[in-house]
Amino acid sequence: MRRILGGIGGALVFPMIAILIAFAIGAVIILATGNNPAAAYAALAKGAFGNPAAIGRTIVNTTPLIFTGLAVAVAFRTGLFNIGGEGQFYMGAIAAAFLGVSLGFLGFAAIPLVLIGCVLAGFLWGSLPGILKAYFGAHEVITTIMLNFIAIFLTAYLTRVPLAREGPIPGTEPVEAAIRIPLLGLGLGRANLGIMIALLAALVAYLLLWRTRRGFELRAVGLSPGAANYAGMGIGKNTVLALAIGGAFAGVGGGVEVLGVYGNMDLPFVRNIGFNGIGVALLGRNHPVGVVLGALLFGALASGAQQMQFDTQVPLDLASVLLAVILLFVTATKIVELILGKRARELVSGTRLERGLGS
């Protein structure tokens, strides 16, 4: 029993408890609004998976969350907290909006080039908090939050002035149809091959972290900075790389969003995609497979919410409430201890950083 709990069970205990608590609280809220929780949740599921259009919406919602989830997870494995997914996502998106237009003459062949540009944009933006942490001692939680806002205002300016399209419609010049990421078709609406790129990114994250020397170093620094340092793995270098690689994943995500869903960038763009990526990563225990599953849950909740509001008059914001409650409970060690006893503490590793914010 202990072995099972420590293995797959261990990986699932925290997420399952958080999800169950969230849905239980959600049910109470739904009851309080005079609706039937079973009916509301059924409508939610129908809105997420009930027909091809619903599945398509879920895919569209899931895709960016895989990227921002990976951005958090990769940094977390190195013991770093990347709250900068939002800004890195924006930087990737604006890079795609710019390159998609300026490389437009290349047609379809421009897509990989544009996405490489997004990787670079995210990588560079992500490396900033890494450098600030490694060489100036500025804590990454605060710097990534601040850099989010700087990125949002920077892209707002770029969207409004230098990259603005002609005419009265706000937003950047749309990219040519040939440079859009192809739709999946099959009645899935706006769902596009971006989901494949997201899954590929998850695979890349897995291979990088567990099948390369660099990945070993990144994880070693996360598990035991002292030992890693003693073994000659530069902490500073790995800190910068972890946040930069995380940024690269979020950056591609922004690019895929622009090339796949919108075709240009306009504000307000996505909201809280970076913050929800934290929930996705923690729910997925900072493992790429878990991230994909976590993103699917978050994506499904977001897309099912409209159906729920339509069928049962439960406001669609309930989905955001559920996501927040999941996030609230997913690292709550003591709650799991109350349920499972002291063993829980062994299961904690991988969901939290045992480290303060002070100097």
Binding site: I83, L132, L147, G279, D317, T331, A332, R352
Partner: protein
């Protein structure tokens, strides 16, 4: 020159208006962080309270009841953060992030339930400006400083009060010690848990005053996501002000001034977006140690476990 003096008043008035919610929330964040609990949920605490205030005023017809609702909501969700971080030992950053998301989703949800509409609530009674006799007659600055909402005067008072409580009372000493060396506080027979609950609860109530000023001091209604990142600017002010009440208030005024400039500076000269970046850039600069390092309380962010 006449133009110059003519515009000082309005700019100063706008600075005060912009700074007031930042000062409240930053002072709140200070109580929490000085006790050792990071509070990046200030944004959410402000938003929930801004909403609760409007609901209270809407139901009762009185702005004062609204204020009571707002402070109650700030306290309640502050305590949620405390329970998660202190009692359940959840990660403080994650709990704060969750509270922000909960506030955004929760107020959106409750808008539909309470007002049967999304977007913006109906108008309620607000805390209108009250001119202080004599002081408001001072040329140039009088009206800007002393013809403001009661909540602004409360903000003026709160800065020295916070300073006094933090640095001149046994409670403040214990609170600060809890954030620096919790072991020592524990050894001295003071409960770390209790002190942290106090710190986080105070942060919720102060952030609430900032929130209610937005919805019922400046405006007289709630609209979705109306805090628009002010909780994070308050966090920036707290850090830029080095976790000190006077410093934080000064930083909040500086950031409020920058915001006030955005409507004055012609966008051809300096685009608004760049002025709006200032608080965030300055915060990174001081955190990175340029111009005197900002150092957080030593134990902030770490759950305390009795050995």
């Amino acid at each position: 020159m006449e133009d110059f003096f003519g515009s000082i008043g309005p700019i100063l008035a706008a600075t005060i208006r912009n700074a007031t919610p930042l000062v409240f929330a930053a002072l709140g964040g200070m109580f929490s962080e000085r006790s050792g609990v990071v509070n990046i949920g200030l944004e959410g605490l402000m938003l929930i309270s801004a909403f609760a205030g409007v609901v209270g005023a809407f139901l009762s017809g009185s702005a004062w009841i609204g204020l009571l609702f707002a402070v109650g909501a700030g306290l309640t969700f502050g305590l949620v953060h405390a329970v998660m971080c202190v009692t359940f030992e959840a990660d403080q950053i994650i709990s704060g992030t969750a509270i922000n998301l909960l506030a955004l989703g929760g107020t959106g949800f409750l808008m539909v339930i309470v007002f049967n509409q999304g977007g913006t609530s109906p108008d309620v009674e607000k805390f209108s400006p009250v001119a202080i006799p004599l002081l408001s007659q001072i040329p140039v600055i009088g009206q800007a400083l002393f013809d403001q909402s009661l909540l602004v005067y409360l903000m003026y008072a709160m800065v020295p009060i916070t300073f006094f409580v933090l640095f001149r009372t046994p409670f403040g000493l214990r609170l600060r010690a809890t954030g620096e060396v919790p072991e020592a506080v524990d050894t001295a027979g003071v409960s770390v848990t209790r002190m942290r609950y106090f710190g986080v609860a105070l942060s919720g109530m102060l952030a609430a005053l900032g929130g209610v000023y937005l919805s019922m001091g400046i405006l007289s209604s709630f609209s979705e996501n109306m805090t628009g990142g002010r909780g994070f600017i308050a966090l920036a002010a707290l850090i830029f002000g080095r976790w000190h009440p006077i410093g934080a208030a000064g930083a909040a005024l500086l950031f409020g001034f920058a915001q006030a400039l955005t409507i004055r500076v012609p966008p051809e000269a300096v685009p608004n977006e760049f002025i709006q970046m200032i608080p965030y850039i300055l915060t990174i600069v001081v955190l990175a140690g340029f111009g005197g390092r900002a150092i957080a309380p030593a134990a902030v962010g770490k759950p305390y476990r009795k050995e």
